[in-house]
């Protein structure tokens, strides 16, 4: 019994049941398939982590965002009058997370790619675009760059899904995807 010492002192030499060996074999093959899927998706798939990130001082990042907003601002939106920005396709797009807002509102074109920068001015935040269901972690001091291509159009919420204090649940931003010209 499992609660008593094994009877055979050299249990290592005891024969193993066929069913067990078979199952270990099957499970091992499955583990290898799962292992192969991740690199394979990096080669063939279109949803991958970017691996591009730089250390940056929060104030430097803020300056970049301000410059970006100034350049491409097309309006204001929401209770906080957050600027709406419509950058050209293919350009660098800056989104800033801070207690407790996503800044600015982005207007992107469907089917076009953008180099999206994400960083926080204070604590960690979670970039969760819904209902597209894309979730990335945002750190202070790290400028993370992902190339993003919206494939569906409409209004998307950016939920903060990393707990960031008492206003966490009010931290909601917006991405509007418009049909391409």
């Amino acid at each position: 019994m499992s609660i008593f010492p094994p009877k055979e002192k050299v249990w290592f030499n005891e024969p193993v049941e066929k069913a067990e060996i078979l199952w270990i074999g099957i499970a091992l093959v499955w583990a290898l398939i799962m292992f192969a899927m991740m690199p394979l998706w990096h080669l063939k798939g279109s949803q991958n982590m970017s691996n591009e990130a730089y250390r940056i001082q929060p104030d430097k990042y803020q300056a970049k965002v301000d410059e970006f907003v100034e350049k491409y601002k097309v309006g204001e939106e929401g209770k906080a009058k957050t600027p709406v920005v419509h950058p050209p396709a293919g350009s660098d797009v800056y989104l800033l997370a801070r207690l407790w807002e996503w800044y600015p509102v982005l207007e992107l074109e469907q089917g076009k790619s953008y180099r999206l920068h994400l960083s926080s001015l204070d604590w960690q935040h979670g970039f969760s675009v819904q209902p597209a269901n894309i979730n990335l972690q945002v750190h202070p001091g790290i400028d993370e760059v992902v190339t993003i291509t919206p494939t569906t159009s409409g209004d998307f919420g950016i939920i903060c899904n990393e707990y960031c204090g008492i206003g966490h649940h009010t931290m909601l931003g917006k991405i509007r995807v418009v049909a391409g010209k």
Binding site: S2, I3, A19, I24, G45, A80, P131, H168, T170
Partner: protein, 561 residues
């Protein structure tokens, strides 16, 4: 100098029990159960707040209760119980005295003190930082002090366990190798030592930072080291509850492992692979490379998944073999149909085994894929997954063991046997449904640790799909059912300890079952386990389907590179 250890012989099992060990086991187990009650109450409050049409607590209390729930139930309940389990698996199963019971009390006192301090700070309201306490969010310095004291206590307990193994060997309390269950506890203990070391490496500097002695802690570095602790602490739970499964199979069915070698090797994969594979918590983190993430999670995790899949076969397999030996040989599943489903020790253990695999296991491996994690990270899918592991797996297994252990240790009969019979079904199935619908809502994008899925105070408007609200409603209802199951558990345990009818034994009634119960090996008396194998194939089919459905779902979202 050392007083001669006092032993008694257990009237139920015939095991030789050292008084010093017994007292410590009782103290740690009872404390664990009390903390489970407290943590469960916080869980109820949190769940009632996340139930959209109830939305019980105000925001600040919600985050406070969630922090308390995470810490009390995940850390304090599990570890107190595991300490009791380590003492049981060493001193009691080996029939030895416990090494240094005095230090056992020091460990116990430190753990209680640490837990009290951390709870006090959380309840005070200035440390609602969640159990992960990610920097640069800061808690009260004493919050970290409490956690550190608790960890030191747990570390001492680990060394007492190791010391007891040495004592038992030296005093020739057993012959040959330690039992499989003790081996499992040893694996849990080794992982625990590693866990606590990681915890110290990160929590001590964080404490120094909170009192201003260190200027800056890098948030990314914090997370990498913190998950060295957070991840491997979950492997303590896994190793421990698998030991409990084997123990219950042995206690109820006299089951012996199909093969000592296979089961022990499967355990070893945890030490070698599982505990270092913590990057699955960091898959969508900037600043860590994909090759590191893939290497860390797959070379390590998949070999450990292999270990778990092996236990998934050998645990029910050993029950099947034992049952067939008793003559339950008809068809594939007579052995299972005729199992004691009315005995909470069995039903709890078996539900724990099945749901841990099907809910916690499959979802965990799937969301541990680097790319699929993009759809899952920090959604309420994550708590859905881990209530499938740690609530329905670990906690339910521990509860099942309590139904056996508490009467035996306190020598009292179980009170409310009718309710006890229902308990595993209410708690287990309630939590099972709860997990599934949290995962469902997470797939629809509902966030974890979030007070308001309707975003009433947000600067913009956004609404989740109606299905998401419906699912969170079901989460609320099933949480209430599970909590009723949890409350029955607490009531039965406390009732038994305080008011249970004392058991009377004819002296040396049950003969020590040790020597005859050790079955011999060899194919002659081996029974094959076709039923278990069928279950395992069913599991694999579900696993493969679910895994690829998620890839398909991923392929339909926006492009990222």
């Amino acid at each position: 100098m050392v007083a001669k250890p006092v032993f008694r012989t257990c009237g139920v099992t015939g095991l030789k029990i050292h008084d010093g060990a017994e007292l410590l086991i009782k103290a740690n187990a009872v404390t664990a159960v009390v903390v489970l009650a407290v943590g469960g109450l916080f869980g109820l409050l949190v769940a009632l707040t996340r139930w959209p049409s109830v939305h019980l607590l105000p925001a600040d209390m919600f985050y406070l209760a969630l922090t308390a729930h995470g810490i009390d139930i995940l850390i304090v309940w599990c570890i107190f119980f595991e300490v009791a389990l380590m003492y049981f698996a060493s001193a009691v199963l080996l029939g030895s005295r416990l090494a240094t019971p005095k230090m056992g009390w020091v460990a116990y006192a430190l753990m209680v003190l640490g837990a009290v301090i951390t709870n006090w700070k959380v309840l005070e309201g200035n440390s609602s930082v969640m159990m992960t306490s990610y920097v640069p969010m800061q808690a009260d310095p004493l919050f970290y002090v409490g956690l550190i004291l608790f960890a030191v206590g747990a570390l001492i307990a680990c060394f007492i366990f190791l010391g007891t193994l040495v004592v038992a060997k030296a005093e020739k309390c057993y012959e040959g190798s330690i039992p499989l269950v003790t081996f499992g506890a040893l694996v849990a203990c080794i992982i625990a030592v590693y866990t606590i070391a990681s915890g110290a490496i990160i929590l001590i500097p964080t404490f120094l930072w909170s009192i201003g002695l260190i200027a800056h802690i890098d948030p990314l570095m914090y997370k990498v080291v913190w998950w060295g602790m957070g991840h491997s602490s979950q492997q303590i739970n896994v190793a421990a509850h698998i030991a409990v499964w084997y123990a219950i199979a042995a206690i109820l069915f006299g089951a012996k492992p199909l093969s000592e070698k296979v089961s022990r090797m499967a355990y070893l994969t945890y030490i070698f692979f599982l505990q270092i594979a913590s990057a699955h918590h960091l898959l969508v983190e900037p600043g860590l490379s994909s090759s590191y993430k893939i290497f860390n999670t797959s070379y390590g995790m998949y070999l450990a998944v292999l270990g778990s899949m092996i236990h998934g076969l050998t645990v029910p397999g050993c029950i099947e073999a034992a049952q067939r030996k008793k003559g339950f040989n008809k068809g594939l599943f007579e052995w299972l149909r005729k199992a004691p489903w009315g005995n909470p020790v069995f039903s709890g253990m078996f539900l724990s085994l099945i749901m841990f695999g099907f809910l916690g296991g499959i979802s965990g491996v799937t969301m541990g894929v680097e790319q699929i994690n993009i759809m899952i990270h920090n959604t309420i899918y994550v708590p859905g997954h881990f209530h499938g592991t740690v609530a329905v797996g670990t906690t339910l297994a521990f509860m099942a063991l309590c139904f056996f252990l508490v009467p035996v240790l306190f020598r009292r009969e179980l009170v409310l046997p009718g309710l006890a019979k229902l308990q595993p079904y209410l708690f287990g199935l309630g939590m099972g449904v709860f997990s599934v619908f949290m995962m469902g809502a997470g797939t629809l994008g509902v966030s974890r640790r979030h007070w308001d899925m309707a975003f009433t105070d947000a600067p913009h408007a956004f609404s989740h799909a109606p299905a998401a609200f419906l699912m969170m409603g079901i989460v609320g209802v099933s949480a209430v059912i599970a909590v009723i199951g949890g409350a029955i558990f607490i009531a039965v345990m406390v009732g038994t300890i305080l008011f249970g009818k004392p058991m009377v034994f004819a002296p040396a009634a049950a003969a020590p079952s040790a020597p005859p119960a050790v079955a011999t090996y060899g194919s002659a008396e081996e029974f094959s386990v076709p039923g278990t194998f069928t279950l395992a194939l069913l599991f694999l089919t579900m696993f493969v389907l679910y895994y690829f459905v998620n890839w398909k779902y991923l392929a339909s979202t926006w492009l990222l590179s």
